[in-house]
Symmetry: C2
Amino acid sequence: MGAIRAKIAGRALAAGDRLPSIRSLATSMGVSPSTVVDAYDRLAAEGQIRARRGSGFYVSPTVMPPLALSEDEPRRDRAVDPFWVSRQSLDTDATVLKPGCGWLPPDWMPDAALRRAVRALARTEASLLTDYGGTRGALTLRRLLLTRLADDAIAASIDQLMLTGSGTQATDLVCRFLLRPGDTVLVDDPCYFNFRALLRAHQVKIISVPYTQSGPDVARFEQILAAERPRLYITNSALHNPTGATLSLPTAHRLLSAAAAHDLTIIEDDIFGDFEPERSPRLAALDGLARVIRIGSFSKTLSASVRCGYIAARADWIEHLVDLQVATSFGGPSPVATEIIARVLAGGGYRKHMDELRQKLARARRDVARKLQALGIEPWLMPRGGIFLWCRLVDGRDATQLARAALEEDVVLAPGNVFSVAQTATSFLRFNVAQMSDPRMWDVMRRALKANGAGL
Amino acid sequence: MGAIRAKIAGRALAAGDRLPSIRSLATSMGVSPSTVVDAYDRLAAEGQIRARRGSGFYVSPTVMPPLALSEDEPRRDRAVDPFWVSRQSLDTDATVLKPGCGWLPPDWMPDAALRRAVRALARTEASLLTDYGGTRGALTLRRLLLTRLADDAIAASIDQLMLTGSGTQATDLVCRFLLRPGDTVLVDDPCYFNFRALLRAHQVKIISVPYTQSGPDVARFEQILAAERPRLYITNSALHNPTGATLSLPTAHRLLSAAAAHDLTIIEDDIFGDFEPERSPRLAALDGLARVIRIGSFSKTLSASVRCGYIAARADWIEHLVDLQVATSFGGPSPVATEIIARVLAGGGYRKHMDELRQKLARARRDVARKLQALGIEPWLMPRGGIFLWCRLVDGRDATQLARAALEEDVVLAPGNVFSVAQTATSFLRFNVAQMSDPRMWDVMRRALKANGAGL
């Protein structure tokens, strides 16, 4: 059965192909014909092959399965897989509370600046409203991004930068460029759950390195590079998702030395960078965009509806990534989107908005941490900034059970194991401090904790 | 050399691995040691492997090349490959004339309706301006699309429809779902050049079937399905790109029968459908979205800047395609984009805009055809609608030379072979009748034709 399955999976046997006769296969494999008959019958029962009266067995037409990334539909009972949080929090309506989601509520976003930019858009030249736009995206926004990269001590030239449809699309584009099915890719444990979903789509082997309060465990990182030879490492530096931890300078240096020794490419996803109170080390800055690819977007601080991401990398790589984006999206991001984002960034309001946002988040972080501790939910560390608190259920109970119970009462939590390749975050949860002002949510959490037998 | 190259390409030998010793390889391959030394030296000269003094040969760190879809940069002298037209016409400024491009000039687009929609957007609720939006895209637009599908006699339910970032992204998503590297995919000859670019990105084997004035050559289509067993067929039905031909009902029926017999899935890209004077047969209508996947967008008739595409397919496939879109784009298309498009479609103006557009295009088509014939450029057929004329240089000269000469004078033409997998369209060109009003362009064409030795 294994041999036939392998042939089908590898497409040595295509849909409709006739299988070897029972006698010939029995001979070639040195087994009895009855063994082959038994195997064929089981495969037929599985639907992998079909018997045609008098003419033997054939591979079923529906053999090579399409790429199903998850078994379940986005029903409430779907598995708590990397899609659990995204599907639940993206597709449920506003009456559902989402302390597990990864974005700010609308009234925390720069609404007035966005509306100003949209009104200006209604008066802009016709071509901007109708044309595809250049393959690298609007020059005005790319110029603005260069100055922002310089703030992170990343010296890049205009030909090292391209705009994409979103931060996720930027990561996906780089993966399509660098990876082949079967490659090995390294992520942090815990890591942003959608990195796991994205890498499943690329059919690569995903391995993980434990994340400490100052970055990945460097000793383990070096061992893994030597033993597993990953092609790529994907991480967040500024404010790590989900932990909120910050990469230390010595850790960054050792990471890059190990990466150089093993020819590892690194994607540094900076999506939460603007939430930092003061700048922390960036791998892209130390490395000078040699083997580090910087990725970012404005979905978290400006708008997730007006979407745009970017890639900063080696100029020769950008050239090929542009071809890849033309082939798979035709042209870059929407010129309308890049125009709105550029206007908001250029208007001085954005810096002020971020200052206020950081203060507001600092208050919410302290307040939420206190309330969680009272429930026996302990922050793993107090982040310097950002929207997340990565917390542990002190009595080590299963966060997945808690999440399921909460969802029954229309509260979407983010249980730890959706962030963990090693599935070692069973008693952890990620909370979004900006999404926890509604008292109902806290009542639901208390009930769910009680139902799960908390000794409160 | 071939054996080592294959091992490296297949990653049996990874970067940094030590190659077999010269003696052992010589023995195992039954050749003399000097032959192996020679092969290793050549591979080292190629940079594929490196010699380390005293310790033998190793695979170079930079071995597995990233996915380069085209060899050249978008310089003027880049090869006339599937990227030639897109990169030249997307990235060159407004002073360059683009009769080879695939879109309408801004003043042919519904400018007033777009500005109305943008102004309304500035007054909409905050969440629409800031949130990600649902994974299938805005319900209002999906409902509008269902009624438009019904106009094409395609009965679909809401769970058979999802919105995407663009029509190209819709096609790409389906390819990611259905294809694996090495699969065989069938396209028309000629076909939309970006289908070729997109399929290169999926590393599949691309084969083509000659396209006649009533659709693909059915006899060849049936032979190819039997002989090559393609997994997927990608085509346009309504107004074929680049020919402008229309699929006939008997051809559609025979195509679907052959597809059913060989378990072939079909992507029917309807992007030019709205340009039709009256509706022609759709594969998706005959097939009822069983094995046909309907794809579309509004980039050609509404806006290419405000981008959105869609997929109509089997409900169980849509479910998995949504996961794939979440993993690779996080969420569907921009809610801001879908809101603008829905407002333009809902406002009665769109139907009137399309009526006027069709008349304007009919006039331009007649006028341009006459002028081209005067230059010895003969339309292959007069399309019922749309923006393209697929033409042949009557004296059979090379359209690529003509395109290169025209580009020297800032005119982007679309030479036939960028549309042809079989490279059998050497003397063909695709013209966009809406982009040919500037007299300068006609002067350039005359000069270019003279330079190429036309007897005019």
